[in-house]
Symmetry: D3
Subunit: 315 residues, 6 copies
């Protein structure tokens, strides 16, 4: 039994083979689409997923994906234990962040094809198995229950933040969380950095420099991420700051923010960065580190070597 | 054994009698000072409480209050079950709202007076008892532990709110909460409405019209409360909207907010309103309702009779 | 603040007064209709309640009741603390008893009457208050949320029971439960005895003789209750066995069941008895005990005095 | 440290070697005896286990097994984390399913052999170790406590099921459960299908077709299992439907049940099938898959290929 | 429904009337016998209770008490909510304090008297009711379950305490606790001060001076209590220190302990004091305060007026 | 991600290299110093650790160690999941065992070295990585929070034990515990055997013979351990009794204790043994078992072969 999570960056150019469906016995797929459109036929109905939307395909649910607008690119977090849920909002109250009513669930959709030959591909314990059957898997006429695929438009996220001073933890941007058995510690959090107002007074507004017990895998759907002014972090790319690795805004961002006039400012317009955060260490495959030749060389020097102290005397 | 809460509005013109100390066996006192200065000598040390500060005097702790700057006025919530605590912040993370480090705890302070005659007044089951002793109760040379009086400056509250659209529940302004055994339901919440930025787009920014299962007792420390533009709610006054009584901004506030230009705006400067919120019904004494002759007549008509529908066509 | 529950038996002959609505600040109403039809207009939409259906009207929700088919009779349990919920099913699994999908929730329904004069009657701390307003309270155009009135047809209850031997506790017939803070102890359970198969081998099939820590208030919607063959317990009537009062089938039922051939048998066809069960003692008003002159005299003698031992020798 | 479970199918022809005892440091043994009799001497006393009985030997408890009636066969589930317990019954109440009083615990039984040479075999982290000692391990004169071996006669199980319509989850047949830290998710459940009455109206009475997040390992102690009319599943055999592998009654069972007259029927007389169910994937050894040559070829085709749609028009 | 506790001090000179049995619907009786012997016939069997033993008679269980050795005296705590249980031992581990195996439960004992006339007296909501029946209530031939009367010999208590320095809280002497829904806060604790060794170095060994949120009702079964050397607290007497009332050893005990040589010392031989401790305020009846004329006058002066400071200079 | 624990025995002769700091991403270090002095510079300040003290260095906190008094020796437990905490004291009450106020936390201490070259060594997933930077990591001017290194002097432990008869579990000596998600089961406990009084009457006072589900790794800081009179267990050494391996006092200890006069006795003066206890199996490296040639041969025979029965007739 796999535990923890897997992270995949995908790119695909064509539809899944005809009369073929897939499902995973290993975990739930959280798909963050970065480019293109996914037309996902599931046993429980169809979901059309467009950029800035995410989709969750639960363990065991069969699906077939076609690409109505050509090539697609994106990120997948496969969750091998538990399921994603909305975070308990605490003092935020009964609504805010991702509101339950904005998640979209498919209506039943079925086909009466009983004589064709179908291949069902199963991801089981990290390997792929195929089975043949003589009828479509998409034959569910109606359904009810609490276990289903769903999609969510990230543009509907109701952003909460400081309206006085200081900088809350990035947990305030949590869309979905997959809690571990240890309260307060997530197997995985899905966090976004959407367009929002910054109004904090007397505050360095970008994220602080920090290291922490969570691993942070970041991706970018579109636009620029406001803590990476210096480039290198582009849409469809990713950064990884593993358990207790120190990081923070790059030198250029630091310089700019340290000299900024702290009037209300709208940031992130036209942009959507996100984070897969986990209490687990995230290993990287040899292929990703070496073979695919996409690693940014001297990331650390590039980002922080030119940082200079910037004192403001207390008044 | 008393359960639930008691709410008192107090005004005092002079120091407690010499060589007299008080304590309550019934509950913890949360004192919201509205006017003047309290110099509180407790067994565990001294606390000087100024306007815009609150102080908590726990059950059983003896104290003596003097008034270095003359007459005082304020509000007391006596909590007959449990204790006040900081709310679990949930996605807000590890800091925000009232930060633990801003609560101020007294240092030990003692006197070596062993021959004077002291009176100790005890509030026990709602009655007052007096005992005599021949030494000061303020003889604690040093102490350690987790049970102590403390004060908090409301100006240190780190306000969190919407930085996109919509209006979170007032729970987002919780300073202290006294939870019941039923998760999510408080015996009492202490909530404030401090100066803060409003930046919500496409949103009616004052509180919505609502009725709810919590009783809402509001008070005003200084300035104007932004949902009561029409007057009637003044510093040292109070309003009470009991369990399931509908209420909301007055007609004048509604009119103004419905026509407002939704640019970033700083509200509440120079003001501090607060709320004692409870899952219990709040009874009112005959004295308060009738004898003290301070009730605002026709509050309901005054506030809401002139409300007019205000449609905005969806685009 | 009221805690615990109130039980009311009601009979009404005509509609509520025109332009009048009611709500309770004290608790949720669970209405068990025994006779007639209720047309309930609530702020969140309309519910037509027919015999063998129940309806829950939550605290604070306004409603107006009309009687399209004339006089009505029934039982109300008002729940002063918490809310009704479905019981955790434990080993019964993901469905059974009252299935969530069978509860019916109203669609929004509104009227554009803005010039009439309305009276809103509020039950608050056991007393009735009336307020006037110049528009209908039934003006909600659309709504979403998790707090709403609902109805349930008792005929949809999926009965679970012994399919081998022995007699489970009546908790196996729980439709709705209002849990206290003490796990396993309910403020109120709503339990029904619907038509069902009895197949237990080597078993005395009616309820056992017992006394217990729960108070049992029983009512009868229609037909005969299978443990009261001897009469006296009729539709629209009620029985009360308070905390630790011993009781059980009447002598006639005992005699019959002791001699019965234990083949599969369908019981309760055309009948529906129910129980309000509570961990609290249930007091009875003077009116109910004396003035209304409806108490069954010598209930105890009538039911059990002629009981005779009935031994079966072990083989 | 091993986690999860191990499943073993065993067959033995003779007693354990003289003056030899065993114990496991890895987990608790749940032994489901299929054929023969086990005379188990444990440190805490003797247990004679006959067909249709199960026995639990906890981690660390030493035992010696002899076979008074010759060869034995059966199944073992070794539980590497936690312990087996009775399921919380929920609405089933205070008794039903496996009743606590039917579990049988040994009385102390000791021998005064102090000069013989004994070998103690320990299963530790999956390997076997042997130690020598010069006295019997079965020298416990008396004991008290809550950690002991026990046996249970499956014939004492009080079966609960639908007495109206529909088909509860197999969890309703749970004898023992080994919960994980995640409420509602078991490391292992031990479930049986004993003789019982089926009375559901308007219902397809065999198990439904399904796939689920639990792995299902089934065995058969005696008789025929009512969802496998088509053969292939014989006493001492086993079937495995792993995480999210779809399955259900075979075609022959489906045909029969679809045409059955739904009168009360006693099923499973003279039969006892069981299931080890786990939230973990169950791997299979190479020996079991290939070398032992006992796998049923074309199980899938054999069971389900001849399934035909069977419509009943709604009335 | 009564909540909380009731405390009674009783003295009785003769047996309960013939053919009479009693039970309480209000709560469980914890009887601390101070003098004499109780022969208690319960529905579940007989219990002979001697001095230094306690007995618990649960709500609803009928009993009849006779006095084989003449007059008796003692204390009763009636628990109106929940039940007594052993405290979670925490780091003390799997045994210590009152060991579960030392509680004694009756065997079934029945009489075949079916023609006599019996009176059953019921304490219900604080009042007494009587019912007549024509057979003995003591006709239970056999029983099983987890709800029964039991007795415990206080001499079997395994005392734990400091074996180095300092003075643990009296909770370390807890025999039975009746927890409230608030973890760590008991509706009632039953605590004893048995014979034990004191070995603490550099420590004032009697209880410290304190006031606390729990009410402390103390009684004495026999001997002298080691913190009340000055008299006034005698067997069959009682002291009450209510919520937040300060108290501690009397002046004589203080003087002695301050000058004691801190060698190992056995205290409490031949003595048994106990405490009913509750998180609730304990009211006192007018009869106890005034009419029975047993209150110790000037208790406070007598105990503590002559206290003198006693400094030990730190070395 | 590593889970569970690692145990290391260390010896070091000189300071860490200049301008070098270390931290672990894998877990928290609990260091039990056996010989010498550690001067630990951490980001949050300096800690001077002397014999009989322990220090905890949390995951991610950088430190540099120097040896002001020459060579050091000790034990490290690295905790890969969760954190150490004080045990819930249960009936022991509000103080006892390791008191919270005795843990010592560093004050901020910083250096203004901004031009030197530093090497930061990171233990990540069991491997070591090195990074270079051009400023000291010890530049934290002030800090607040709840995540910090701390030290504790084992001599401040307030020992609790039996003051009557019997022998509590070693859990009564718990200094710190790292709980698992399963209540009552620790990933690791740190337990000590400090100087203390033994006063139990009628009791074999050394530890009993037992085997249990916890692995016990013992070490000795100084002196003799009172259950190992026969030698072999020396300061800086260690013993390991893994899951369910039986053990107990050696034969010499048994003989002495069986004949001892049970007067109050102070044991362990000048000694400090400790135990790392874990619910996990503890593997041993090949180096430790074979290459380092430090394993005590025939430990089992040496300790227990000469044990002889020792009967005391009950009086």
């Amino acid at each position: 039994m796999k535990t923890g999570i897997g992270i995949f960056i995908f790119a695909a150019g064509k539809d899944m083979a005809a009369n073929t469906a897939m499902y995973s016995s290993d975990g739930d797929f959280l798909v963050v689409l970065q480019h293109g459109v996914l037309d996902i036929q599931t046993e429980l109905g169809r979901l059309l997923v467009r950029p800035n939307e995410i989709v969750v395909l639960p363990r065991g649910i069969r699906y077939r994906v076609t690409l109505p607008e050509g090539p697609v690119r994106g990120y997948i977090l496969e969750l091998y234990q538990g399921h994603f849920t909305l975070p308990e909002l605490g003092p935020i109250g009964s609504n805010g962040l991702a509101n339950e009513r904005d998640f979209q669930v498919p209506c039943a959709f079925f086909q009466e094809v009983t004589s064709s030959r179908w291949t069902i591909v199963n991801k089981f314990n990290g390997a792929l198995f195929a089975a043949q059957q003589n009828h479509t898997p998409f034959d569910v006429v109606a359904w009810h229950g609490r276990y289903y695929p769903f999609k969510y438009d990230l543009g509907r996220f109701s952003v909460i933040g400081s309206t006085s001073f200081d900088h809350p933890d990035p947990s305030i941007y949590t869309v979905l969380t997959a809690p571990s058995e240890h309260p307060g510690t997530a197997v995985a959090d899905f966090v976004i950095f959407p367009p929002r107002w910054l109004v904090q007074e007397d505050t360095f507004r970008p994220p602080w420099y920090h290291r922490n017990t969570m691993s942070e895998f970041m991706g970018l759907i579109r636009g620029d991420y406001d803590a990476k002014a210096g480039g290198g972090f582009r849409p469809a790319g990713a950064s990884l700051h593993n358990v207790m690795s120190a990081h923070g805004p790059d030198a250029e961002t630091f310089e700019k923010a340290s000299n900024a006039d702290l009037k209300p400012a709208k940031v992130g317009e036209g942009s959507m960065a996100f984070m897969f955060e986990s209490s687990l260490m995230i290993g990287v495959t040899d292929w990703a580190l070496a073979e695919c030749k996409k690693v940014q060389e001297k990331y650390s020097e590039h980002s922080w070597a030119s940082l200079k102290p910037h004192f403001k005397r207390p008044v």
